[in-house]
Symmetry: D2
Subunit: 144 residues, 4 copies
C-alpha cells in the first residue's frame, strides 16, 4: 500500500475549506485513521439523530458514508475538490445502538475517471456492521 | 388507483408524531400531493445545503428521498410507524439549482413484506431530474 | 426529443458486429422500438429460463436490462462500441409469467462521461413491471 | 463461526434439484469452499462469455454472483428452496482476464425475513476484484 496522498490533518483542512457547512469544529465528524484509500472516521452520537424505536436515522448513516468516502478519495488522489458522487447504494443491516458511529471506507478501484469504494458502518465497540455502502465518484480529468 | 389510506394532513401528523426530530413546523419539508402510493413533497432551499461549486449536498437529496418514500408508504398502507428502510440506491444526474427541491415518489410494489419505490428529485420549476432513487421498505407483519 | 442517432436496424447490425456471441439471428432478443434514448426490446420466452416455482431467472432479467440499456445508449450517442457498464441495480418486483419479457429503457442522463438510465421489465401483455433496473455506462472520451 | 447448515456436496445436490436448468454436471459452475455464510465458487472460462475488447460479459458476472449468494444463503439457513433475490447491485471494477472467475460471497446479515450479502469476483489467480456485488434475499417465513 503506498503512502496516503494527504494525511488526516491535511484532509481535515481541505474538507473544512471546501465543505465549510458540513465539516467544521464541533460538527461531530472526525477523521481517525488515514491510509492510502482506506480510512476510518467517526460521527459523535447526537440525540437529534434518533428515530422511532431508538434507532439512528438512515440519512445520518448516508451522510457519514459519503463523508468517509470523500476522506478515502482524498487519501488516494490528493487535492481534488471537484470529485462528485455519482451514485451510492446503502443496505441497512441492523439497528444501531445509541452510541457513536464508526465508518470504515476502502476504495476498490481508483481509476482515471471513476473511484469506487465500500463503507462499513458500525456502532462504536460492536463487531457487526449496522450498514454497508458502495459508492462511485467521478474524478476530474486532470487527476491521475 | 384506490384512494390513499391517509391524506396529506394525516400523514403530516403521523410523521410529526413518529419522527419529531425530522418533521416539525419550520423544518423545511412539506407534503404537496398525496395519491395512493404516489406523492410529491418539497424541501425548501437552505444555504446550509450548499457545497463547492454551488451544488446541493448529496445527503440533503438522500434525506428528501427517504422522506418522500415514507410519505408514499404511509399513503398506501396507513399507520405503520415501524416500516424501516432496508436499502436505497441514488444516482446523481445533474447539478441542482439553488432553489427548492421537489421529490416525486411512486411505489412500484406494495407487498405483504416489502414495499419498493422510486423517487425522482427535481429543482423546482425545471424539467430534468437532478437525482433518481430506488428504495425498499420492510413492512411489519401485521399490515396488509 | 431529437431523432435517434441510429435506428433499430442500424443498432441491430452494430450489436451483431460488436456482441456476436450475445446478439445473433435466433438469439431470442429483438429490438421493437427506438426513439432517442428511449427504447423497447423483447426477450422471447424459453423454458431454460425457468426456476423453481415457475419463475424466470434473475440473470435472464439482468441480461435483458443490460441489452436494453445498450440499445438506448446507441440510440442516443451512435456508434460507440466501447461504452461499458459501470454499475447496475435491479429490484425484483413480482414473479414473471411464462411469456416473453418486454424491457423499456430510458436514459435519464446523457453526459460527456456517463450515461444513466432506467429499465422497466414487464411480462408481455401485463401492466405491472416484474423488475426495475438503474444502470450507468461510461462513455468513451471522444464522444459527444 | 458456526458450522455450515449444509456442506458443499449437499448444497450442490440441492441446487441441482431446485435449479436443474442452471446447475448440472458440465454447467461450468462449481462450489469450492463452504463455511457458514461465507463461500467460494468458480465459473469455468468459456469463450462464449467474451465481449468486445476481450472482456467477459456483465451478465456472466451477475449470474455468478447470484449463484454464489444462493450457496451462501443455503450454507447459513439450510434447505430453503424458495428464498428469492429481492435486489442486487453490481459495480464493475476492472476488465476480467480470459480465465476462470472466482466469487467469494459473505452474508452480512442473516435475519428472519431478509439475508444480505456481498460478493467479490476475481479473475482466477489475481488479487484485485473485477466486480463487487451486494444482494438481498427474502427468506421464507418458516425459517430461522
Amino acid at each position: 500500500m503506498p503512502a496516503p496522498a494527504l494525511n488526516a490533518e491535511e484532509i481535515g483542512e481541505l474538507l473544512h475549506e471546501v465543505f465549510p457547512q458540513a465539516f467544521y469544529p464541533g460538527c461531530g465528524l472526525s477523521i481517525e485513521r488515514v491510509d492510502h484509500g482506506d480510512v476510518r472516521v467517526r460521527r459523535a452520537f447526537d440525540a437529534n439523530f434518533l428515530r422511532p424505536g431508538g434507532t439512528i436515522s438512515g440519512p445520518t448513516m448516508m451522510e457519514l458514508a459519503d463523508f468517509a468516502m470523500y476522506v478515502a478519495v482524498f487519501s488516494a488522489i490528493g487535492r481534488q475538490p471537484l470529485a462528485v458522487t455519482t451514485n451510492l447504494t446503502i443496505n441497512f443491516l441492523r439497528k444501531p445502538a445509541q452510541v457513536d458511529l464508526i465508518a470504515q471506507a476502502r476504495l476498490m478501484k481508483i481509476g482515471k475517471r471513476l473511484a469506487v469504494g465500500e463503507v462499513n458502518i458500525y456502532s462504536d465497540g460492536m463487531a457487526d456492521p449496522v450498514a454497508h455502502v458502495t459508492s462511485t465518484y467521478s474524478v476530474p480529468r486532470n487527476s491521475g
